[in-house]
C-alpha cells in the first residue's frame, strides 16, 4: 500500500531554479495531498510514453536552446524579460525535468508545473512562429495540463467548468429549461423591435444551426438578441437546438481532460446532425472555434469537422458582402481591432475581420503588431477560467498588451472573442485605459439597417 510521501521534496531537488510558488488553490493543494510517489511517476510516464509519439520526441530532441521563442511570449515581455516566462523555459521547467527524472518529481515541482502550464501560458501558439523549427510549445504545455488532470491537481475554478460540461454538456451549469427560457425571452424582447422575429428551435433541415457558448445565456443574453436580429434582418433560414449540445465551448480541452472534451464536441456535432443543418454558425468565441474546428473533431476521429463551421467573423463578412445586411450609418468613433489567437493564427480570419471593420467603421487604426503576430489577450487558453484568485498576477502578466492597446489611441477596442473580451476588459480597467470594449457584432447591430424581414418578400 502506498502512502503519501511528504519527504519527497527533500529527496528530489528538482525545483532549484524555479520561482517560489505559494500554495493558494484548494483544489491543487488537496489534490497534491492525495498523491503518492508511485502514482506521480506512473502517470507522468504513461502520458509521456503512451500518449505521445515521434512528434513529441522530435520537439524535445530538436530544440537547440537558442532562446528565440522568448520574444514571442507576452508573459516574458510583460515581466521585464524574466527568463522564467520564456516559452522554452516553461518546457525546461516541466517536460525536460520530467523526462530527466523519469517521472520521479516532487510535489513542489508539480505545484509549479500546474502554475506554468495553466497560468503562465495561453497556448496561443505565437511562439510557434518565432521558433525557427516550428516547435509547438503550446502542445507541450497542454501535455503538462493533461498530466495535471490525470493527477487531479487542476485549478479549482476551471475544473468546475469541466464538471459542469460533464454533467450538463454546457460550461456554466445552465439548466435545460433555463436555456429554452432564455431564448424565448430574447425572442420576445426582440419582437418589440422586429415584428415577427423568431428564434426557431429545433427546426430540422434549416440551413444554419446557430450556436453560442454558455456565458451568453448565463449573463450576456443580449448577444443572442443581436444575433437573432441579424439573422432576421438577413432573412436566414436558421435554428438553435433546444437540447444539450447547443454549447460549443470546451474548457475540458484546456484542462487536458480529453475524454470529456471529446464528449462535448461529439454532442455538438450530433446535435447538428440531428437537425440536419447544412452548416454551423457560431458566435464570437475563439476557443469554441478551436474545439469544433481543430481539436474536438480530431479526438472524435474526424480529420476536419463533419460540418462546415463558420465563425461569426466569416459570417458577418458573408452577410455584408452579399448585401444581406446593409450598414445605415458607419460607426464614427476611432476603433482598433484585437486578433484573437484562435480566429487569426488558428483560422486565418484576420483579413476578413478587417474588411468587416472597414465596412462598419469610419475610423479604424491598427494595433502593432497585428494579424497572426498580434499579442495574446492574456486571458485565453483557460487562463482567465482559473478564476479570481489569479486575477492580480494576470494583470501583471498583461502589461505588454496594455501598452500595445494604449499606443493605438483608439476609443473603442473590438475583441471578437469571449475570452479575449473578458480579459481585455480587465486590462482596460486595471491599467485605466480610456477605451470602450465591444464585440464586432455590437457594432454591426448598432449601425445596421434594422430591416423587418417578411418571408417570401
Amino acid at each position: 500500500m502506498q502512502t503519501p510521501d511528504n519527504t519527497m521534496t527533500e529527496q528530489l531537488k528538482d525545483t532549484t531554479d524555479l520561482k517560489k510558488t505559494k500554495a493558494t488553490d484548494p483544489a491543487i493543494e488537496s489534490g497534491l495531498k492525495r498523491l503518492t510517489r508511485d502514482r506521480i511517476k506512473r502517470t507522468i510516464n504513461q502520458v509521456l510514453e503512451k500518449e505521445t509519439g515521434p512528434r513529441f520526441k522530435a520537439y524535445v530532441e530538436t530544440c537547440m536552446r537558442c532562446g528565440l521563442c522568448a520574444d514571442a511570449c507576452s508573459y516574458f515581455l510583460s515581466n521585464d524579460r524574466d527568463p522564467h516566462f520564456m516559452p522554452a523555459a516553461k518546457v525546461k521547467n516541466t517536460i525536460w525535468k520530467m523526462l530527466a527524472k523519469k517521472g520521479e518529481v516532487s510535489k513542489d515541482f508539480l505545484r509549479q508545473a500546474v502554475r506554468i502550464s495553466h497560468l503562465e501560458c495561453n497556448v496561443c501558439k505565437r511562439c510557434a512562429m518565432y521558433c525557427p523549427f516550428g516547435i509547438d510549445i503550446a502542445y507541450m504545455m497542454l501535455l503538462v495540463r493533461r498530466i495535471c488532470h490525470k493527477l487531479e491537481i487542476t485549478p479549482q475554478y476551471i475544473q468546475d467548468t469541466v464538471n459542469s460540461h460533464s454533467v450538463t454538456l454546457n460550461q456554466m451549469w445552465v439548466k435545460d429549461d433555463e436555456w429554452i427560457d432564455t431564448l424565448q425571452w430574447q425572442e420576445e424582447d426582440a419582437r418589440d423591435e422586429f415584428e415577427d422575429l423568431q428564434i426557431p428551435l429545433d427546426k430540422v433541415g434549416a440551413d444554419i444551426m446557430y450556436s453560442v457558448i454558455a456565458p451568453e445565456p448565463k449573463f450576456q443574453a443580449g448577444l443572442i438578441y443581436q444575433a437573432a436580429a441579424m439573422m432576421h434582418a438577413a432573412g436566414m433560414d436558421w435554428t438553435m437546438p433546444s437540447t444539450p449540445g447547443w454549447d460549443n465551448s470546451n474548457m475540458a480541452m484546456y484542462t487536458g481532460d480529453n475524454e470529456i472534451s471529446g464528449r462535448i464536441a461529439r454532442a455538438f456535432f450530433e446535435t447538428a446532425a440531428k437537425l440536419r443543418v447544412k452548416r454551423v454558425v457560431m458566435g464570437e468565441c475563439g476557443h469554441a472555434l478551436r474545439s469544433v474546428y481543430d481539436m474536438g473533431n480530431r479526438w472524435n476521429s474526424w480529420a476536419m469537422p463533419p460540418f462546415e463551421v463558420v465563425h461569426a467573423l466569416a459570417f458577418y463578412h458573408e452577410l455584408l458582402t452579399e448585401g444581406r445586411i446593409t450598414i445605415k450609418e458607419k460607426y464614427k468613433k476611432k476603433v482598433t481591432l484585437h486578433d484573437p489567437c484562435n480566429v487569426s493564427r488558428g483560422r486565418g480570419l484576420h483579413d476578413k475581420a478587417r474588411q468587416v471593420v472597414n465596412m462598419v467603421c469610419e475610423n479604424f487604426v491598427e494595433m502593432v503588431p497585428n494579424r497572426e503576430h498580434n499579442y495574446c489577450c492574456g486571458a485565453g487558453g483557460g487562463v482567465i477560467n482559473c478564476g479570481p484568485p489569479y486575477k492580480g498576477e494576470r494583470m501583471v502578466n498583461n502589461k505588454n498588451k496594455a501598452e500595445q492597446l494604449a499606443a493605438t489611441g483608439a476609443e473603442v477596442l473590438i475583441a471578437p472573442c469571449h475570452n479575449c473580451h473578458s480579459g481585455l476588459e480587465d486590462i482596460i480597467h486595471h491599467y485605466g485605459l480610456e477605451m470602450e470594449i465591444k464585440f464586432l457584432g455590437d457594432l454591426i447591430y448598432e449601425t445596421m439597417e434594422k430591416k423587418i424581414y417578411t418571408p417570401g418578400k
Binding site: G53, A58, Y59, E61, P83, A88, A89, P132, R298
Partner: protein, 219 residues
Amino acid sequence: MNSFIAFIMGPMVWISVIIFLGGLLIKFFGIIWSVRQKEPYIFSYMTVRHSLRSIGAWLIPFFPKSTRLRPVYYGVSYLFHILLFVIPLFLASHIVLINEAFQVSWPALNNSLADWLTLVVIAALVFFAVRRNMVPEVKFLTAATDYLLILVVILPFITGFLAYHQWFAYRWMVVAHVLSGELMLIIIPFSRFSHMLTAPLTRAYMGSEFGNVRHARDW
C-alpha cells in the same frame, strides 16, 4: 602509431561518413515508421505544398517577421549554416581527395577566400558561445552540452585553418583535423545536431497545420 594514423586517415573517414549518412537515414525511416504506428494523423494534415511553403519561407534570410526582430543573431546564423556546408564541400583540398577516390570533381573555392570564410565560421561559433553566456534568456536554457556541441563544430575549422597555414606541427594538425571532422560527423545522428533532419520535419508539420488547417502564415 603509424597504423593508427593510417586508420584515422583512411577507413575511419568512410566509417564516419557511413555512420553520419546511415544514422540520419535510419533516424528518418524510424520517424516515418513511428509516425505510421503512433501518430498517423500527422500524414493526414501534411501537404507537400504547405510544407515547402513554410520551409521555403524560413530559408529566405529575413523573410519571416520574427527574424527581422533579431537581425544580428539571424544574420550570423544564416551565414554560419550556409558556410558550414559550403566550405567543406567546395574546399580545393577536399575536392582533390574526392577526385583521387572517385574521379569526380567540381569547381573549388579560391583558397584564400576559403581561408577567410573559415575565420568567419570560427567567429560565428565564438559569437554563439558568448551569446549563450551573455543573453539571460539563452543562458537560462544553456547546459554544458550546449558548449560541448559548439566545441565539436569549432574543432575541425580551427584545426583545418592551422593545418592550411602549416604554422606548426603540420602533420599532427592534419590528423587532428581529420579526427575532429570524423567526430563531428559521427555525433550528428546521435545529438541535437540531428536538427538538420528533424527541423525540416517539424517545420513542415507546423507549416502544414498553419497552411492547410489554420489558413494562416507561420512566418
